[in-house]
Amino acid sequence: MSVQETSTDAQDDLVVQVRVNGESRRGFAEPRTLLSDFLRHELGLTGTHVGCEHGVCGACTVLIDGEPVRSCLMFAVQAGGKEIETVEGLAKGAEMHPIQQAFQENHALQCAFCTPGFLMTVSALLDTNPDPSEDEIREYLSGNVCRCTGYVGIVAAVQSAAKKLRDQGGTADER
């Protein structure tokens, strides 16, 4: 039981070690520290946004071991040892990922607060389904809320990104 190696005192900070975007990162967290807060305020990865803190809006979606997950519904301590991907890991330097390019080209963002959550969700979708229909896209993205775009640009961007990725023969992960 790892109760000994963690603390039994609720307010004490624990050391959490994760891999984020391929890099090993360490930080402190109370047991109650949400993964979203840990990524944002302890590791400084503020690209992951927090919109509701009860799992409805999808803004805080990150990939954990390849699957999309709400980072507001996990405690940081639970992510120990996991592989986390956030929006900061999508681009290679100044070169945007094809999904990001498609979002710009299709005006799929306005205030962009929801955008990182969408990008990570789309990345997971195109990994499992490289050629989704419009219905499949709308269904898969229905757990991410956008208040600005009416989803028109987003759906078009996903179709365009899917084509870009198919054309270059890679997956969303390994283009």
Partner: protein, 791 residues
């Protein structure tokens, strides 16, 4: 349409082009900094203690246990804030009908809605601040509640504010003339009551404030998730008793606003006070529960309308009554009239009616204060009038589109019975266009076929005129006597690149792209040579901010004027250098050429080098910078929304099938961005028509403080859309630009509601409230069946 004002013809390349947004890569890479992304050294975190009860006297506030908690740095209650500010927010307009309403920054003796702030905890983390907030004990003495605006007006209603007797912030009447006589003589009078549900703009990022007081410099920096950083500074300077020069207000990346962030909230004053008292940075980032219960609600109005009609279906007169639900205070600084007054005064819409009267009340209730939310007021006004027009069409057996076209004004500038001057539009043409886009006649055939199978398709078509470019003149015309100041600066830097600053604020609208397009064209430089900066009171010139579809016009116009000045100076200098008359020069692609002598040219960078470092070669030209002001005349966009739905008559479920929209906002800066604005507004319309409702129970408790209860539309509820444009440049504004961005929400809720009523026309259903939950639709069908014995 007037011919002398079509500057679009002379505006070259960028304006009107689908230029991709230059700000996108930063957002897409997760590098943009929103309020809660900012961390300052030594920063503290705040949480508010909020009222759990709707209306009560505060008997005692016990902070002892909270204060003792490890990590709590300070707790402030009303007395602390009062001692360190010049006074509460007093919302008033210089109109005799309007009562000033006072809102304390923290409640002292009395709370008036669930969620009202009572104390602020400042701690070393937000987690601890919330722990402490839970330990504050407050004794309340119940005062009874008002939860319905009409009840609030009754004689025995509980009173909310001692200085607003009768709970009514304003009673306003308008009468254009002979309205009652026309009604008396009219062959037909149709009437309807509509209650638009209470909603909230609910941008995905909530409000938030960071204040950092530097005692050494006696300087306060405030980051606020606001749509109006400069104006917030002016208002806060008064409340905090500080000179504006000692304050800098920055709006960082703002995650949506839709009007809610164009108000000033108590938290925006309290957090700076806390920072000033502690001489440390303090952050408060609103959480979703606070956003839903305590920011601003919107749109709830109980409305009645009578329309007098002749035998041919010509509208003769409109007579309306609008009782707005203001909530517990008048939103600062605009007042709660933004809903009922604008609902009433846009009653003419596209319809050629000379006899109009209305009455407006704005009633205090024990709910979160109501404020502006995209298409403020108009959403409700249009739901009422255009759903009644569809009822009339059915009653008179006239096609609803035909009935609208029959009563539609012409395309030329027009002055309404309410005194607004429309600056030309495509009022009828846009209706015809949207009908083409959806295949209106074919859809009617499909509707008839489907009905035979027991399927109920419905079509709603809602044309609108949107008042835009809210400056002094628009505001005054619409009953809000206020003066606005908006400006832009244009500076050519030594290397020929261009810095533009504006006093408006982009929170998703892509201003730094579309305004750069305006500047680039006006100067003749490449788009990539221009940078637009806004949202910072220290680095951008003054302006009132972004709301009411104003930025394209006020900032676009200011930039056009400033850039024209600078262009003139560039040409003067180039003329000296090239030894030709400046009038023989033109600038394009950042290069100045002599007309007819292609070999003779200079780049803007070369001219700029002369301006900065050329010594006497400068001649008369002192600077390559200009700051200009623009306060536009009234301008009005127009457009039309068509909604197609299918209603499941066994469950009452409404399936959105399709939207089509035509937008005419005059000279288009960037059609891609315009379409984005329309699409987003249509989605919000689905929310208002079918899903979203800020619900209070009869005891005044708030029942929708989570997104499980307050339902944003998702990609599954929002349908496909077909968006198109018509272009009728304004005959009065700079560049023929009209504002846009709200029209989609003026027209889409009623388009959806009318589509539902159209689908259910075999049952004889009338709709008079939103949102339409499946249960409501089914109840309507059953009531209609009970009334007329079925189909």
């Amino acid at each position: 349409m007037s011919v002398d004002a079509k500057p679009t013809a002379t505006l070259p390349q960028y304006v009107g082009a689908r230029v991709l947004r230059v700000e996108d890569p930063e957002f897409l890479m997760g590098r943009a900094k929103y309020l809660d992304d900012i961390t300052l050294p030594d920063m503290l975190h705040a949480a508010f203690v909020r009222s759990p009860v709707p209306h009560a006297e505060i008997v005692n506030v016990d902070i002892e246990a909270a204060q003792a908690l490890d990590g709590v740095v300070a707790i402030y209650t009303a007395a602390d804030i009062e001692a360190n500010t010049t006074g509460p927010f007093v919302t008033a307009l210089p109109r005799d009908e309007i009562m000033p309403v006072t809102r304390p920054l923290l409640a002292s003796d009395r709370v008036r809605f669930v969620g009202e702030p009572i104390a602020v905890i400042v701690a070393t983390s937000r987690y601890i601040a919330e722990d402490a907030a839970a330990l504050v004990e407050i004794d309340f003495k119940d005062l009874g509640v008002v939860t319905n605006a009409e009840h609030g007006l009754t004689e025995d209603a509980v009173q909310l504010h001692d200085d607003v007797p009768g709970n009514n912030i304003a009673h306003i009447e308008f009468d254009s003339g002979d309205v009652d006589r026309v009604f008396d003589e009219a062959p037909h009078v149709f009437s309807k009551r509509f209650h638009i549900g209470r909603v909230t703009a609910a941008p995905l990022e909530g409000r938030g404030v960071i204040a950092n007081y530097n005692p050494g410099a006696d300087h306060l920096t405030i980051w606020s998730s606001t749509q109006m950083p400069h104006f917030a500074r002016t208002l806060l300077a008064g409340t905090l008793g500080m000179a504006e020069k000692k304050m800098r207000v920055i709006a960082p990346a703002v995650g949506g606003g839709f009007g809610v962030k164009s108000c000033l909230f108590p938290e925006e004053a309290v957090i700076p006070v806390a920072s000033r008292l502690l001489s440390r940075p303090v952050k408060w980032a609103e959480d979703r529960q606070e956003a839903l219960s305590s920011s601003a609600h919107a749109k709830e109005i109980i409305m009645d309308l009578d329309i007098a009609v002749d035998d041919e279906g010509t509208f003769l007169a409109f007579r309306g009554n609008y009782v707005g639900d203001a909530g517990a205070y008048a939103i600062f600084p605009w007042t709660s009239l933004v809903d009922p007054l604008l609902a009433a005064d846009v009653v003419a819409g596209i319809y050629d009616v000379r006899h109009v009267s209305y009455k407006v009340d704005s009633v205090l209730t024990n709910k979160c204060p109501a404020g502006p939310y995209r298409a403020t007021g108009q959403t409700g006004g249009y739901l009422l009038r255009d759903s009644l027009i569809d009822d009339i069409a059915r009653a008179m057996d006239i096609d609803p589109v035909e009935l609208r076209l029959k009563n539609c004004i012409g395309n030329e500038p027009y002055v309404t019975a309410t005194g607004f001057r429309y600056d030309g539009g495509s009022y009828a043409e846009s209706i015809r266009k949207v009908c083409d886009m959806i295949g209106y006649d074919k859809l009617r055939e499909e509707q008839a076929e489907l009905r035979k199978e027991g399927r109920y398709l419905g079509i709603g078509v809602a044309p609108y005129v949107e008042p835009t470019a809210w400056g002094s003149k628009s505001a005054q015309k619409h009953g809000f006597p206020a003066e606005f100041y908006d400006s832009a600066s244009v500076t050519v830097e030594p290397d020929g690149s261009v810095n533009v600053t504006v006093g408006t604020q982009s929170h998703g609208q892509g201003h730094v792209t579309s305004l750069a397009q305006v500047a680039a064209d006006q100067l003749g430089v490449r788009l990539e040579d221009v940078k637009v900066l806004d949202s910072d009171s220290d680095t951008a010139v003054y302006g009132a901010g972004t709301f009411m579809s104003r930025t394209a016009v006020v900032s676009g116009g200011s930039i056009m004027r400033a850039a024209a000045d600078v262009r003139e100076r560039i040409l003067a200098l180039a003329g000296q250098e090239l030894e030709v008359n400046p009038s023989d020069l033109e600038i394009s692609n950042s290069t100045i050429t002599v007309k007819g002598s292609p070999g003779k040219s200079m780049t803007v960078a070369e001219v700029s080098a002369v301006a900065y470092f050329g010594g006497e070669r400068r001649g008369e030209v002192e600077t390559l910078t200009s700051t200009r002001y623009y306060d536009p005349p009234e301008t009005y966009s127009n457009g039309v929304i068509a909604a197609v739905v299918e209603v499941d008559v066994e469950t009452g479920h409404v399936k959105m099938r399709h939207f089509a929209a035509v937008e005419d906002c005059g000279t288009m800066l960037n059609p891609m961005i315009i379409e984005g604005q329309v699409a987003g507004a249509l989605a919000q319309g689905v929310g208002i028509a079918l899903l979203e409702n800020a619900v209070y129970d009869e005891q005044g408790q708030f029942n929708t403080a989570s997104l499980m209860d307050y339902l944003y539309p998702s990609s599954n509820e929002v349908p496909t859309m077909d968006l198109a444009h018509l272009v009728t440049p304004s005959d009065v504004s700079e560049g023929g630009i009209k504002g846009m961005g709200e029209g989609g929400l003026v027209g889409s809720p009623v388009a959806v509601v009318n589509a539902v009523a159209d689908a259910l026309s075999p049952f004889g259903v009338t709709i008079n409230s939103t949102p339409l939950r499946p249960a409501d639709v089914l109840a309507k069908i059953e009531a209609a069946q009970a009334g007329n014995g079925g189909r």
